[in-house]
């Protein structure tokens, strides 16, 4: 087994709201191994974005880390000081956001932006820097990088902007890349390009990637392992081929059968019900109000983890006592 690069243990995060404490991440246990792409798949309210932001410690002010740890290379990120964390962000652990348009400062050229990213962590001579930036821009397949450096964000298309953000994330040779729905705002043909790009860059830079998405098809293109999140909990996690072929958790099964395929089908299966109120989550298994296979036990007790194989775990009473 590969080495662990990130280890999340029992992480519980809540948001303070008018109606009470909203549990967004509910005792999550998750490992990311070196050299792999882990896709965290979830719908709205699943907690996947909160999880991603918590690794970078970029949560909003009303978020509270209630318990748990996030270990990166043996160090608990939650225990670091702000300055220590800053040295890691954009450096060892990089981030690609969802909306390329709002992530770039409209007053800065590409050059200024990328320069700042580098200088926040180390110093390079100006000439060297320019060469280096052009190099990286070539790697993200931007045509005419020299000219490009002087462009402003408003001159660029969505795909181009996203490439800049990807380039920015690579500038300091990160070990771990967190991509938060990086293709959701892009056209489908551009999405395909960006996914291919991320895949090839991962190999070249020898990184691990945490890829957050709500789209099962996108995850299928790029992930080695996946984790299915629902209402703050991880329900199933493991090798992507195993899970897509034999989805164990009823929620995963529901998700997979609700995706329309290119080949015409008669009817789509959907999952009845709504996500639960996260300020007052249901007892027992968090999915039980919507589960077609519900047993008495599910209403009272939280399911334990079951290993269906050495790379496939599920949290569901259907698989054991």
């Amino acid at each position: 087994m590969n080495k662990e690069i990130l280890s999340i243990k029992n992480l519980k995060i809540g948001y303070e709201t008018e109606s009470g404490l909203l549990i967004a991440v509910n005792s999550v246990n998750l490992n990311v191994y070196s050299g792999e792409t882990l896709a965290i798949i979830g719908e709205s309210g699943s907690g996947k974005s909160t999880l991603a932001l918590s690794i970078l410690r970029l949560l909003p002010s009303n978020a509270k880390i209630i318990s748990g740890s996030i270990e990166y290379s043996g160090v608990d990120l939650l225990s670091l000081t702000d300055e220590e964390m800053r040295k890691i962000r954009g450096n060892k652990i990089a981030y690609i956001p969802q909306e390329p348009s709002t992530a770039l400062n409209p007053s800065f050229t590409v050059y200024t932006f990328l320069k700042d990213v580098v200088y926040s962590h180390r110093f390079i001579e100006k000439k060297e820097l320019k060469k280096y930036l052009i190099d990286v821009l070539k790697k993200v397949r931007i045509p005419n990088p020299e000219k490009f450096l002087n462009s402003y964000p408003f001159e660029l298309s969505g795909g181009m902007k996203q490439r800049i953000l990807i380039a920015a994330s690579l500038l300091n040779n990160p070990n771990l890349l967190i991509a938060d729905e990086p293709t959701s705002a892009l056209d489908v043909s551009v999405q395909a390009q960006i996914l291919a790009l991320i895949s090839s860059l991962k190999k070249e830079f020898n990184m691990s990637i945490i890829f957050i998405t709500h789209n099962l098809s996108v995850a299928a293109q790029i992930a080695d392992r996946i984790a299915i999140m629902y209402a703050g909990k991880v329900l199933e996690i493991g090798d992507i081929n195993e899970i897509y072929e034999n989805p164990a958790h009823p929620y995963t099964q529901g998700l997979l059968s609700s995706v329309p395929r290119l080949q015409r089908t008669k009817r789509l299966r959907s999952i009845p019900g709504f996500i639960p109120n996260l300020t007052n989550p249901p007892s027992g298994c968090i999915f039980h109000p919507r589960c077609p296979y519900i047993k008495e036990k599910c209403k009272k007790f939280e399911p334990k983890k079951y290993n269906l194989s050495n790379n496939h775990e599920v949290y569901c009473w259907l698989y054991g006592e």
């Binding site: 298309s157 291919a196 098809s217 395929r261 290119l262 015409r264 089908t265």
Partner: protein, 334 residues
């Protein structure tokens, strides 16, 4: 020879027929250079009763503009629109108003398509009030509740405001609003793109059920070919304001003709890790301000011929019901 997609279908049975429709926007004015965006440029199609035409395209394709122009939310720059065999292209607004009860729209963003200051019961009742279709309060209430039930909601939603509902619920309200007038034609502009995957499935199933029961015609606009293949009887692929391919979902899936359709099919990910297609396709969806000469797709086309740079190909029927606008194909050839 010009081909109007779907022309082969009986003209009389067409609920809605669009001929050589164009919609151009002018940008700029006094101080900046005047620029024309040809959002929809010579599009023709028809939809019969109870049928769904799926309109697929990426940004800049003009699909949303087309949908809104057909509803006369924009004034067409040229061409004709026939609805229930009446020429509505240039009707004055107060004449158009009477027709509007038969044509409705459902928008992509459930968060901005409902008036935040109106309660659900008011949102759903406005159509009836505007068209004077209701006589007394009791009847109104009954009609509202029965429509809400049809879309999977109930009377507890009557007094709520949109911000109290989830995305899927709001979209159901938007559908109820479109339904309540018993329209004949509904334009669905990416109605599920902003929803979670499981909710999307419910809404798509609902739309299909409603069509079966009430024989609505849909113009279903989407960037997602998989969703369109599920919903539509006929599919039109749009690129930079033009229809480049037209056929049944099976035709498009089994035998995509146009290189752009190929590109789309290649790009669309499927939920199967064994079918990974991570190859480097070049090019980006273009800007409709700078339309390439000749065939608009030629700068991105692997199979580009000399003629493609200079002459625009017209839609030709290559097989019955399957049309494509591409110099690679000539009628009666393969």
């Amino acid at each position: 020879m010009k081909f109007i997609a779907g022309y082969t279908v009986n003209k009389m049975k067409d609920l809605i027929r669009v001929e050589e429709l164009r919609k151009y926007f002018s940008l700029g004015g006094f101080l900046s250079k005047k620029v024309t965006v040809k959002a929809v440029d010579d599009v023709s199609f028809s939809i019969s009763e109870g049928e769904t035409l799926g309109l697929v395209g990426e940004s800049g394709s003009g699909k949303t503009t087309l949908g809104k122009t057909v509803l006369r939310l924009y004034k067409p720059t040229a061409g004709k629109i026939y609805f229930m065999n009446k020429d509505i292209t240039n009707l004055k607004e107060n004449e158009m108003r009477k027709i509007r009860r038969f044509m409705q729209i459902v928008y992509q963003d459930p968060y901005s398509s409902l008036n935040p200051r109106m309660r659900i019961k008011e949102i759903v009742s406005r159509p009836l009030i505007v068209h004077n279709l209701i006589n007394n309060k009791k009847e109104l209430n009954e009609k509202i509740i029965s429509t809400l039930i049809k879309v999977g909601l109930d009377e507890t939603f009557l007094d709520r405001f949109p911000h109290e509902l989830s995305g899927g619920q709001r979209q159901r309200v938007a559908i109820a609003r479109a339904l309540i007038l018993n329209p004949k034609f509904i334009v669905l502009d990416e109605p599920t793109s902003a929803l979670d995957v499981s909710v999307q499935a419910e809404i798509l199933n609902l739309l299909k059920d409603l069509q079966e029961e009430y024989h609505f015609s849909y113009l279903f606009i989407s960037h997602d070919l998989s969703v369109v293949n599920f919903m539509a009887h006929k599919v039109a692929i749009m690129y930079l304001g033009k229809i480049v391919e037209y056929g049944s979902p099976e035709d498009i899936y089994n035998e995509p003709l146009h290189p752009y359709t190929h590109l789309l099919m290649q790009s669309i990910p499927q939920p199967d890790p064994k079918e990974r297609k991570l190859s480097f396709i070049e090019g980006e969806p273009p800007n409709p301000i700078n339309v390439p000469s000749g065939c608009r797709f030629h700068p991105r086309c692997k199979y580009m011929l000399e003629i493609c740079k200079n002459k625009e190909p017209l839609l030709q029927e290559i097989k019955p019901g399957h049309l494509v606008a591409c110099w690679l194909y000539r009628k009666n050839e393969n």
